[in-house]
Symmetry: C2
């Protein structure tokens, strides 16, 4: 479903949501260790998220990655679109180039119901709300 890039990205953003703010930053090495994820690869992913404005970072001593107030307004769909592209949730499941409601593939309506449901969930899932659930230990990263 999601690429590893995207999986790592979502988890990292949520980790940052729970553990950082403007005054408390964390470096890639620690994030990678905590999430048990390849550190250099994660570095690349964080670079992309930063460039897209979904996370924040400061170089140099005392620097690291963190989520700003602004960053927290994003939702999970933003992360997915940033890392896997918008097509992931919209393209034809069977890869047909001109699949549409008028010209549906065999799984068009079945898949679209489910995927639009998921897309709705991701869009309305704010990072802050998931962070609260993680703090309350209702879910785990």
């Amino acid at each position: 479903m999601f690429s590893k890039t995207c999986k790592y990205g979502i988890r990292a953003v949520l980790f940052l949501a729970v553990n950082t703010d403007k005054n408390k930053k964390i470096g890639v090495i620690e994030i990678a260790e905590r999430l048990e994820v390849p550190r250099h690869f994660l570095g690349k992913v964080l670079q992309v998220l930063k460039k897209e404005g979904l996370i924040s970072s400061i170089k140099g001593p005392g620097g690291g990655f963190y989520l700003s107030k602004e960053n927290r307004k994003a939702n999970i769909e933003d992360i997915v679109e940033c890392l896997d592209g918008p097509s992931l949730l919209n393209a034809c499941v069977l890869g047909l180039p001109n699949c549409s409601d008028e010209n549906p593939c065999p799984l068009h309506f079945q898949a679209y119901a489910c995927r639009h449901g998921l897309q709705y969930q991701l869009r309305h899932q704010s990072i802050d709300e998931l962070a609260r659930k993680i703090r309350r230990e209702e879910i785990r990263i």
Copy 2:
């Protein structure tokens, strides 16, 4: 979502459902042309489906691939499981090894609903029914 192997496989099975039976077989070359899919690669996919008993084939002149009565009892989920493995629809969307209802990842319940919906659809979507819709031109392969 699905691998190309799986996309090609699903389309090929439906193509066979519409265009073949015990007395009318079709070769890989023609199937690949009709579906606009790489022919050698499709050959491999069909081999796997045949081994798993999801399609039938006969070597030699007049031979080719076809769907038997028995084959038509399968559903789309069987094809997906055969080609992409059972984990595709069941594994954690974020790739966490021990994600479960008791120990959910941040997207566990959101993803669960949607994916089980899809799985249900695939399981109850008989090949014959889709073939009928293709014949009626309600959908396209």
